[in-house]
């Protein structure tokens, strides 16, 4: 069963049986909130983008986002840009796969972010969530709900960082403002 993370909470990515995780997926799902007004049923399209920034010793070394879908080393892969979100509750609309044993040795932290590319604030997004899944068996490790958000257009979701021989995931959940991950860089640094 997945854990509902709260801000700042960290979970170790060790499996219960002692083995460490080999592949994780950061999934992002959302739905546009119905607009108020005459045409209640009309929704506007919201394009949320998931990005992953790879850091080595607090220096960004690579980034995976909708224009660079695979990190140069191939360990982090974005499954593709979704421009409108899901029709309903449920599956991931965008996902980033991380093959942890293949992450280059100098990369010690991977930060996942979500941006609203179309500029709507998270107040207009419904049922948005971000979750971390063990890709080998589809089990959800952690889930973080975005909704109830305020007037900001981006969020630093979580980070996965090296801890000893394994990896630890920490929920961050800090709101920020920006259309793409570049705008978020200053907001990321304090979390490394």
């Amino acid at each position: 069963m997945g854990i509902d993370l709260s801000k700042g909470q960290a979970i170790s990515l060790q499996k219960q049986d002692g083995g460490s995780l080999s592949a994780v997926r950061m999934g992002l799902g959302w739905q546009a909130a119905p607009r108020r007004g005459l045409f209640r049923s009309r929704t506007q399209e919201i394009d949320l983008d998931a990005s992953a920034v790879l850091f080595a010793d607090k220096q960004p070394v690579d980034v995976v986002f909708f224009q660079h879908l695979v990190s140069d080393d191939g360990s982090v892969r974005h499954t593709g840009d979704n421009l409108v979100g899901g029709a309903g509750q449920g599956g991931d609309d965008e996902a980033i796969l991380v093959d942890l044993p293949r992450v280059p040795v100098h990369v010690d932290t991977i930060v996942f972010t979500v941006n609203s590319f179309t500029g709507q604030s998270f107040a207009e997004v419904e049922n948005a969530f971000c979750r971390l899944v063990d890709e080998t068996n589809g089990q959800e490790l952690a889930r973080y709900t975005l909704t109830g958000g305020g007037a900001y257009t981006a969020q630093v979701m979580a980070k996965v960082s090296r801890h000893g021989a394994g990896w630890v995931m920490t929920a961050i959940g800090t709101p920020a403002t920006g259309r793409t991950f570049q705008d978020l860089m200053p907001a990321l640094i304090p979390h490394l």
Binding site: V61, D72, G74, S75, R102, V105, H106, T136
Partner: protein, 614 residues
Amino acid sequence: MAAELIRGQNHPLSDTRLEIRVSAGQPVVAGVTLNDDQGRMRDAAWIAHPASPRLPGIEVSPQAAADHRLAVDLDALPADVHRANVLLALVSGVGGPASFGAVAAPAIAVTGLDGTEIVRYTVTDLTSESAIVAVELYRRNGAWKVRALGQGYAGGLAAMLEDQGLPQARQLAGTINEAVVSGMTRAVAAPPPPAGQPGQPGQAGGTGRINLQHPNRPAPSAQPAAAAAPAPGQPAQPVAGDAAGHTMEERLYNQVWGMFEDLARTAAAYRSAVDFADSRMERELDQVLSDPATRVGPAADLARTGARAKHSQLVDQARGAFERDVAQLVAESEVVEPALPLAFARWDNPVWQAYRVPGEAPMALRLGDLSLPERVDLRIPMLVRLPLQRGLWVDAGRHGTLSPEAAALDADGIRGLAAETATAVVARLLAVHPVGAFTVQVIDPAGSAAAALAPLLETGALREAPGLGHAGVTTVLDRLTQRVDLVQMAIRSRAVDALPPDLDMAEQLLVVHDFPHGFDDRAVTQLRYLADEGPSVGVHLVMVADREDARGYGPVLDPLWRSLLRVTPVPDDHLVDPWVGHSWTYEPPLAPGNSRVVSQVLEHLAVARQRSTP
């Protein structure tokens, strides 16, 4: 639809309650052995066999039969069971066949409880084996998978059980056989041992065995017998054709490209880690230097040593990860190279010695090898799709960074090598196409490539002598230009039937030596036209040229050079991969020094041609 597995291939199982159907065409014993995570049978109770047909989660049939249905409930297996092997064995001592080589290939189907097939696998290429592990079901990361194994044992059941670490293997094998034999004698109408092969149903000619192998799949290469399941945590044994695709050719093509990408990416990881380590050390050393207080003295030395230690530690780690990945790719390459079909194989591959003219054109051609400086011995086949989308330019010039061997060659040496490279490429193209599907025309205005063209001329691979002088250039170019015009017109107006009947419908390849000797402005224009428009209507171009020779034409020719794929007659690092942009060292497809393979192949082709045109 059920997946048809080949030896070594695996497939995930979503259901844990399964039925395994065996059809052997001969009475065989079917059983299941259980292994722990070390691949060993804990004790003699870890086997379901005819004398003891039930285990928790497993049920096998109590007698020998040609068809079996084994029931398996993977959830009910003990938790320390990591693998269940489905075994088949011939009964000894009843006058039946002594080895699987003498019977039809047994087929296995894994089905759900409702009878829907999940995978099927036919165990082919058996010879002297009298017991086989046909498939294994194994745990991987908490989920179950099935792998087609086909591991045979000439020593029979006893050898198989011994291999799984059972000390009393011989004894148990004896017990099983006895139980089966007594079952057979008890049976009212035991299936009569077939008198001979011709009596078997479904066999038309009556000679030889039925070959149940898929016609489009080449026989599995001689795999090392140790194809057993890898220990948990270890990477799986590489298997040739372990990629997506409808045919073996497509799978191998995709696998080679997969290896290419993997090597590019793992090298990128290694290089970026080393770059990072370098820049971090530099920064840390700069920091020490920039502060006058710490510039000298023991503290500075300490900081410097620390920075260097951090650097070498990271570089070592990166090297370790890189070596690990490369070792895996080398192992994969060792399995894949021998399994490659003609068009993907190097000249030294035995498949070229057994050359036969193929019935259809391949999907791609190996144009050479690619490697990275970190690991020059790992050579990735450079496969380009056929028909060629772009012309080729064999660069006869001396520029770029030359390897020592290349630097030792003078300009004429490089030219000669370039002509030879072009001949090797042309020979490959000719050899991988069916008879009459590929025509080569050569322009050699000054006759300087005569030596390199000799193998093509002597074997009659060239239908006509190379075009000599200005007249030769004009004739050939006029003819091909006209052909491109005609075919384009016919395609545009959808009147392909209206093409003149004497038009050679084969793909055309024009090889141009000595450019721009013998060319006038009109010929150059025609050549550019062919390079641009030709590929879409089956007219391809190979230029053997030094760009410097054509400098007089100025920038007019730049688009021509750019539109061609440049290959070099000597190893050169001018090719860039599409993923991370490394520079790869390209090696041309030249046959090894004193090998006669190219001439042999061309002679073979000439014979086949004569036969087809009486």
